[in-house]
Amino acid sequence: MFVARSIAADHKDLIHDVSYDFHGRRMATCSSDQSVKVWDKSENGEWHCTASWKTHSGSVWRVTWAHPEFGQVLASCSFDRTAAVWEEIVGESNDKQRGLSHWIKRTTLVDSRTSVTDVKFAPKHMGLMLTTCSADGVVRIYEAPDVMNLSQWSLQHEISCKLSCSCISWNPSSSRAHPPMFAVGSDDSNVNYGGKVQIYEYNENTRKYAKAETLMSVADAVHDIAFAPNLGRSFHVLAIATKDVRIFKLVPMRKESTSTGPTKLEVQIVAQFDNHNSQVWRVSWNITSTLLASSGDDGCVRLWKANYMDNWKCTGILKGDGSPLTGSSGQPTAMSTVVGSSVQTSQNTQNGMSAGRYFLPPLDPPRAGTRYGHLLPPSSLIEHCDAEPIQPQQQALPHRISSRPLLPLPEAEGQ
């Protein structure tokens, strides 16, 4: 059961990215209004904007946090062809008391000739490294050799992907068995250019990144890509937002110690959902990579979850404007949707009107029966799962239900 609550963001234009810090107590947003805002969560769970400043001379596409081990550091990238690194410093006045923080620019990375579309810090164990990708198809990896001096960044690698890049994601695995790896997605819409997701891996011997895999089956424009937190698993999971939501499993083949080439990856597609009807814009994993959230042109946020047998299904749908949603039970027994008052007043009509075409698909009945009983080994589960509808059938579920019993609008609507 998820409950949505609106926050007055006060950005003057579209918000392009939301990013949490390591602990989930701070958040950064960036917008077409060229600014970045930093939000802190108070003890009572409210978000307060503690900093807002102009960061670029164009839309800011993405913002991301460094691991707190490196201090309070943000990176942003923009249409203005630059990426920037920001650090929070202790203010001159008693900013802290007034609930404000001060951020200063440590560096501007100006190597790109085109819009910088994504920026990500590499996993902590690799040191303080920053990666950008840009519309001209180049991935750049920078390193801060001295973590105490964030104004010094050296361009370590420049990898040409040949296709306009839209998104990048590092494999977060810290296992020594897995060499550093990242995936880059392209939003080039020409399906004839082949796979739009490329995976690169660091080669210890050549000290260079080499392409390990191209996902040829992803031929349409890719808008977002996300490696799942590895959490000690023996394989990697990659979620891709393209014309549908796709989940790939990358299983590293056991490598012979003698081979020097990149790790062979066995690529399996685990799930593919076109429930968003059209383009999917973003995908995000939770910390254990057991829940995936996606957003698409149907104006909905969908939550996906796998069961024991790695069958992924939709467990929740939330409308983009925070209006009612179901829990995964599909039974709105405790529908306690709270739509913030700020939205109520300013966007009343919009909220009231928005449900035109977004329906809640019939979710599977609660799997009460499949909760294995006492000391039943899971092989009995296998039978249960097989008995359930398999995925293709799920996708064919009607998107429309004309009756409304699933969606009792709360009284707050339309007030």
């Binding site: 973003r282 404007d321 009231g352 080994p377």
Partner: protein, 878 residues
């Protein structure tokens, strides 16, 4: 606008009204569903909204185009362009006030009749109405009418000409003299007034786009292009204009009008409508013929006129309001990103909002934040218990809860950990019982054999039975039956140990399951208890248990029936009992009842019905195998079962694999499936052999679990985990990170400070107490020079850091309450890494509660703020 092709217009001033025009004009009011539901004739537009038809106007036939008067008064005044080129002012269902009355019915007639293609009201000087007409020889095709003008002198003449009109017109309402005549010898297909200067009119002429200036009508700016249809100005950026030709949209910048600044990807079908979103920057909606999607172009960047070679980023999107083909659409003038869509046929209307691209992120504590447009939405997993108990919680939430309930930390009563985990997961229950029995046996054997067999216990039954030797075979009587049984049972030391690990028997050489049976009875696991009794060849006890189960509260009376069937047991091979039992047993729901009959009806040594009944707990099957399988069969069965468990990642298999490499393999499958690194880390830390801890996979799980605890700010839990880990894996103990050494002699002040200071040292610092240890406490134990002073109390620091409670003398230990422990921490050394000033921890903390700067005068260091993580409060309690 032929009858089949509808169009929609929103009222410029009434946010709830719009007009649909096809063969007639229909005025609709939109409202929430609830309010209008009772009224007849409402059309649902969406889940929440419905439209009511307010008025119909069919006075104006041959409609080609319609434009809504832009000013507030008179409301609902429409200009209709007709196929013969005349423009008629009309109104819809309004009580006519004087101004309106004058205007309604007025006609503007061109010299030569030809189709009127487009109409445009001047947004500022609203008397001006521009009409674009088809070509007629050398005549003008753009006429600008002044609606306030009185009839022209030639009015009577023209009224003659227009007799074809069905409406009988008052000649005073016919105007034939336009205010301006533009575009000679040309056709005009589309028109719009430029918002940057209301004297400028942009016209899509035949093969060119032209800008006419009303102040100087003889001149025009023009550019040759095919894209001349549907010219429209971006309401947010007045120099930007869109027009189209066939399937291609061209975007123009009026500041550099020579060529389109960009053209959008071509559509296979011709476009019919292109419209800028009035509520949002740079969002253009386009519709092609015979299509059920509206394509949106999100232009994030204002093109600049100066030679900027970067292409603006355009994000192409498409929305599908409904399945059928779309006739037309219209943006709502004020509601954000909202539009009404009408179908090509049957006038089916839909009201919907185009959502912005939503970006989203999960936090480490499983709350989801997303941004839609300019708004943020925070979505948290509702912790409501009970209602949602049906839904399995996500493992991230589970691990957090388990960490808080100290899951994994019970090292004595190991089995209790499964209760700490919630007690609802059978696999975890099995795992922790396995580990408990292993620990019990290990301790027991350790006592007997001085530890050399300890590793055997943790190596799992698979390895234990491998080395089995000295197996004896025995045939025992069925108790409760007179017959001599021919069921062979096997005994050996290893098998006995295995049974203990399975939890069937406790210590001792005899196989006595009575204790186990009683505990099962207590747990009300009647079927299982009965099966265990039966496997021990005690049929009478089995029946007794079943009877007990039937009579117990909420007992299943069917158990009596089973008991009855059981009592008829006969070992005669061809008996009816046997035949019926082996066929009917498969219909028994309970797996234990099922295997009971399988056991009774199978030949000795061929117990597949029992061994491969996957619903029976692994421990019971393994115990059974240890009793009834021969030395040849047993390892084969165990190996097979082990591999099955490993593949499935079933934690029950830990019984077989123990904490060995096999166990790590099994745990790897489990982690792959569940992500439960918490269980993996703790269970691997339970065994005493350090071998598995060296496995990189185990190290990886442990690191990942510590990282999770850090992310959740469960720092106390992380520290406890580290302590716990350090006990079993001394190599993981972190090195000391800080040494406090004397400024004078350079020796560590904790070094050689073996004497626990007196209890009263709290006072001794202030020199109040005449404690003899005073000199020792506030000075370096090495050179007797005084220690640095606290910046606040200016006293010499007094407490060596190495002193921790509990290491003192036993009589003092009793006095150490929790407060004392905290007070001790207050005495600790603490200093800022930046300015190197410091003092007693307690003093420093209270200082920084109210101040940001360092307490040392002249030092402006903001010591506490330098460490942002330090401001985070741990979210767990110690």
């Amino acid at each position: 606008m032929s009858g089949s092709k509808p169009d929609i217009l929103w009222s410029p001033h009434h946010p709830d009204r719009y007009v649909i025009c096809d063969s007639e004009l229909g005025l609709y009011r939109i409202g929430p569903v609830g309010n209008s539901e009772t009224k007849a004739g409402t059309l649902p537009l969406s889940e929440e909204t419905a439209a009511t038809l307010l008025a119909i106007n069919s006075d104006t036939p041959y409609m080609k185009c319609v434009a809504w008067y832009p000013k507030h008064e008179p409301e609902c005044l429409l200009a209709v362009g007709q196929a013969n080129g005349r423009v008629v002012l009309t109104s819809l269902g309004q009580s006519h006030n004087s101004t309106c009355k004058e205007l309604v019915g007025k006609e503007f007639v061109p010299k030569h009749a030809r189709q009127c293609n487009t109409l445009a009201w001047n947004p500022v000087d609203s008397n001006l109405l521009a009409a674009g007409l088809d070509k007629h020889r050398a005549d003008f095709s753009v006429l600008i009418w002044d609606i306030s003008s009185k009839y022209s002198p030639e009015a009577s003449v023209s009224s003659e000409k227009i007799r074809l009109s069905s409406v009988d017109l008052d000649s005073s309402s016919v105007v034939t003299k336009p205010l301006y005549e533009l575009g000679q010898n040309d056709a005009c297909l589309s028109l719009c007034w430029l918002l940057r200067d209301p004297k400028l009119l942009l016209a899509g002429m035949h093969r060119n786009l032209a800008i006419f200036d009303l102040r100087n009508t003889s001149q025009k700016t023009f550019v040759n292009t095919k894209a001349i249809q549907g010219v429209t100005v971006d309401p947010h950026f007045h120099d930007r204009v869109a027009s189209f030709y066939e399937g291609q949209v061209a975007i123009w910048d009026l500041r550099k009008f020579e060529k389109p600044v960009l053209t959008l990807s071509e559509q296979p079908k011709p476009l019919i409508k292109v419209a800028w979103c009035p509520t949002r920057n740079g969002l253009l909606a386009t519709l092609t013929r015979d299509s059920n999607i509206i394509r949106l172009y999100d232009m994030q960047h204002t093109p600049t006129p100066i030679g900027d070679e970067t292409e603006p980023t355009i994000i192409e999107r498409s929305v599908q309001p409904y399945e059928s083909q779309i006739g037309s659409f219209a943006w709502h003038p004020s509601s954000q990103n909202r539009m009404v869509v009408v179908s090509a046929a049957n006038r089916v209307m839909t009201d919907f909002t185009v959502f912005e691209r939503i970006s989203l992120a999960w936090s480490s504590t499983t709350s989801l934040m997303w941004a839609c447009g300019r708004h943020l939405y925070d979505c948290v997993e509702d912790g409501a218990e009970g209602v949602d108990s049906v839904i399995e919680k996500d493992i991230a939430t589970k691990m957090r809860q388990r960490a808080q309930s100290r899951y994994g930390h019970d090292t004595v009563q190991v089995w209790k950990n499964h209760l700490l985990a919630g007690g609802s997961d059978p696999q975890l229950k099995s795992l922790w019982y396995d580990l408990f029995y292993m620990k019990q046996c290990a301790e027991d054997i350790e006592l007997k054999l001085q530890g050399n067999k300890q590793s055997v216990v943790y190596s799992g039954i698979k390895n234990i039975v491998k080395t089995t030797s000295g197996t004896t075979e025995s045939r025992r009587c069925w108790s409760g039956s007179e017959r001599q049984s021919d069921v062979p049972r096997y005994h050996s030391e290893e098998r006995c140990l295995s049974l203990r690990l399975c939890g069937w028997i406790s210590r001792g050489p005899d196989i006595d399951v009575e204790v186990f049976l009683r505990s099962l009875e207590q747990e009300r696991e009647w079927e299982r208890a009965s099966a265990v009794a039966l496997f021990n060849l005690d049929i009478r006890r089995a029946i007794q248990i079943l009877n007990k189960g039937a009579t117990a509260e909420k007992g299943d009376l069917n158990l009596n029936v089973v008991a009855m069937a059981l009592s008829g047991y006969t070992d005669e091979k061809s008996s009816l009992w046997r035949e019926m039992c082996s066929s009917l047993r498969l219909q028994l729901k309970n797996p234990y009842l099922c295997v009971m009959f399988a056991f009774l009806t199978s030949e000795p040594g061929a117990y597949d019905g029992v061994l491969y009944e996957s619903s029976v707990a692994v421990r019971d099957r393994v115990a059974f195998a240890c009793m009834f399988l021969s030395d040849a069969q047993l390892p084969r069965y165990i190996d097979k079962l082990t591999n099955e468990m490993k593949e499935a990642g079933n934690l029950e298999g830990i019984l077989l694999t123990g904490l060995t490499k096999d166990g790590v393999d099994l745990m790897e499958s489990y982690v792959d499936l569940t992500g439960d690194v918490q269980t993996a880390s703790f269970s691997m830390l339970k065994g005493s052999p350090g071998e598995v801890l060296k496995d990189p996979r185990v190290q990886c799980w442990i690191e990942n679990y510590r990282n999770l605890l850090d992310a959740w700010r469960f720092w106390h839990k992380r520290a406890e985990f580290d302590i716990h880990r350090g006990k079993l894996d001394p190599s993981s103990k972190p090195l000391a990170q800080v040494f406090v050494s004397c400024n004078f002699c350079g020796k560590s002040i904790s070094y050689s400070c073996s004497v626990m200071p007196h209890q009263g040292r709290g006072f001794s610092q202030y020199g109040v107490s005449g404690s003899p240890t005073k000199s020792k406490v506030t000075s370096c134990p090495g050179c007797r020079k005084p220690l640095p002073r606290c910046a606040l109390c200016l006293m010499n620091m007094g407490t060596p850091v190495s002193n921790c409670p509990g290491t003192g003398k036993s009589d003092e230990r009793l006095d150490l309450t929790r407060e004392n422990k905290l007070a001790q921490f207050n005495n600790w050394f603490t200093w800022c890494h930046n300015c190197r000033h410091g003092g007693h921890a307690g003093h420093m903390l209270s200082w920084f509660k109210e101040h940001t700067e360092c307490p040392v005068s002249g030092c402006t260091c903001k010591c506490m703020q330098l460490d942002t993580t330090g401001n985070l409060v741990p979210s767990d309690s110690s």
